[in-house]
Symmetry: C2
């Protein structure tokens, strides 16, 4: 993972001036004046930015309308003195996670985590051997599991996501990302991230954007690994959450206890609400992949000034998955229509992405 992120970062940050045949600078250090040094530093920074604009920061994207719409937008909002220039502090970019930054098939990865947690926690819960829906997971009885429906799923999430401290939960998540494997690709789940989107995150940051995740996933499930995998720190991850209680133990140590009560669902109309609550500014750039992202895209689009709205369309059953209007997971129907009507960018995974996952041969 770091290697992949590093690669995207290197592309964006080091300004390979030689390859671009641009001027290469050096500075010799004397005692004279700080001002001259700072001017020189600015000069180098400007040279880097200019090199960046010309080098390919999105090497895993095929040339085409989707890629061009991104680079054109970034050029417009970063051009000092241009009509569409946006100050750095307003360059807020929000990304859905499941199906936008990482894969969401055959089930949301957080559901896979919950199932694996049931198995891991089973020794402490002998009653699960005879109680549904836990018994179904332990017996790998998919029919009984399906029969337990949404109620069963909520029971599983409650049992595996509450009754422990935030620190203990964070550790459980990291243990899982380090050990669990995706059933089809047989790789750690955190390798099932889209290489083109990693490049896009790094490219936006190199152009002064602050990148946020705005996901229906649990915020405590996402934060432990996203900084390493996406370069997005915990304070820039917005997600669904349960009520958490502050307590001081008998040892005098404070902790935060995760309860089973749902507090906030960061999905659909909850996304602009979550953006308002956590970020407090409207994004100028937003990417999603499903109808759960529609309101985030509408909210992003619904103000003056330059705006970018994008959707990842899963069209590649060979390298990843192909699904949209009929899918139970990541259903893309209304948002696809609205994208067509409003001219939002739609990324056709098969056509627009040279690489999907970094581990591809």
């Amino acid at each position: 993972m770091p290697a992949r992120l590093w690669r995207a970062g290197v592309t964006s940050y080091t300004c390979d001036l030689k390859r671009e045949g641009m001027f290469v600078f050096s500075a010799s250090v004397h005692r004279r004046s700080l001002v001259v040094t700072l001017l020189a530093v600015n000069f180098v920074v400007i040279a880097c930015i200019s090199a960046l604009a010309q080098s390919d920061s999105l090497p895993s994207w095929n040339d085409g309308a989707a890629k061009k719409s991104i680079t054109d937008f970034v050029s417009r909002v970063t051009m000092q003195g241009g009509a569409d220039f946006v100050p750095v502090e307003q360059r807020i970019a929000t990304f859905d996670n499941d199906g936008t930054l990482w894969c969401e098939q055959p089930v949301y990865f957080q559901v896979a985590f919950a199932f694996d947690r049931v198995k891991a926690m089973a020794p402490q819960h002998p009653e699960w051997k005879t109680t549904q829906p836990f018994k179904a997971i332990l017996d790998k009885d998919m029919k009984a599991l399906a029969a337990s429906g949404e109620k069963g799923l909520l029971q599983i999430v409650a049992a595996t996501h509450s009754g422990m401290t935030t620190d203990a939960f964070s550790k459980a998540v990291l243990d899982w990302t380090a050990s669990a494997h995706h059933p089809r690709f047989n790789r750690p789940y955190t390798e099932l991230v889209y290489q083109p989107m990693l490049e896009l995150l790094a490219y936006l940051r190199a152009n002064g954007f602050k990148t946020f995740v705005v996901s229906g996933g649990g915020v405590e499930f996402m934060r432990p690994w996203m900084e390493k995998v996406y370069g997005i720190p915990p304070e820039q991850v917005v997600g669904s959450s349960g009520v958490v209680k502050f307590q001081i133990g008998t040892d005098g140590k404070p902790s935060l206890l995760k309860t089973a009560k749902i507090e906030f669902v960061d999905d659909g109309p909850g996304k602009p609400v979550g953006i308002n609550r956590f970020i407090g500014r409207r994004p100028i750039f937003a990417f999603g992949n499903s109808d759960g992202d529609l309101q985030m895209l509408q909210w992003t689009a619904g103000a003056e000034g330059p705006r970018f709205m994008g959707l990842v369309h899963h069209t590649d059953a060979e390298r990843e998955y192909a699904y949209d209007r009929q899918s139970k997971i990541g259903k893309l129907d209304k948002a696809l229509d609205e994208a067509a009507a409003k001219g939002w960018a739609v990324v056709d995974m098969k056509r627009d992405w040279k690489t999907v996952f970094a581990f591809e041969p």
Copy 2:
């Protein structure tokens, strides 16, 4: 305000090398090698950091235990290779707002805002002329207002903080900060910010800290002006909030409607909960001034590694206000005892601050 912030920023960022008699560097720019330039840049950055460490970044603080505890802590956690070194991404600093960054007397400024809003909104609410608690405000009848108690206050807050879009509310806040004056100091409320704390915020940021506000105040009341006044962007402001609803108007434009339902109270045990929810990392540096900040300080203190916990003690009736254990606003009692027991820093405003407000003669 910008002048004040600028001053604090300049102190922290420009590395007044001449005054410190340190080496001053210059760089001449040649075509040679980017690597040399980057090394030179690093060299300048290191020189700046080292100058920073020695120059006085906190000129409005008198020399003494409080100031020393701050600079000692920052030196320890920023010393590369030192036992207490903390990586930049973990340098999270949280500040209460009312009574910590700005004044909170004779009433919380958000309450003053709510009262002023009642007057401003009265023409659209003729019924308020005869309905308490609104009548009391319009008649300046402090006795009747007091008699309406907490219930009355909640009614006033609900009437002035909901039933409008987040954009309209933000505008109302900015109009108020531009026009309303503090009853004693006859200055805009946003000038009632503590100069030593502005310097502290800038000093921490210059040392790689990310600074956050974690306040019982309403998040929508704070965000519109804090970036300009404190240099803290909206996404780093944590506060209390009401439920907000996403809606699409008949014109097809999306908006967020503020409702009267309270969603989250970021005070007392709510502060560590808010920190967990919004920041997702434990601070290593926290400052408050009242019992409402106790749990934030306990949470900050309650983990391994170097930690700084500080309280502003209001001891200066002449330049500001003097209050603690008996005060209805900003009561400081249990937290003062715990600070003494645990050796947390207590800033004695009268003794430790050379300047309280930038506008002082």
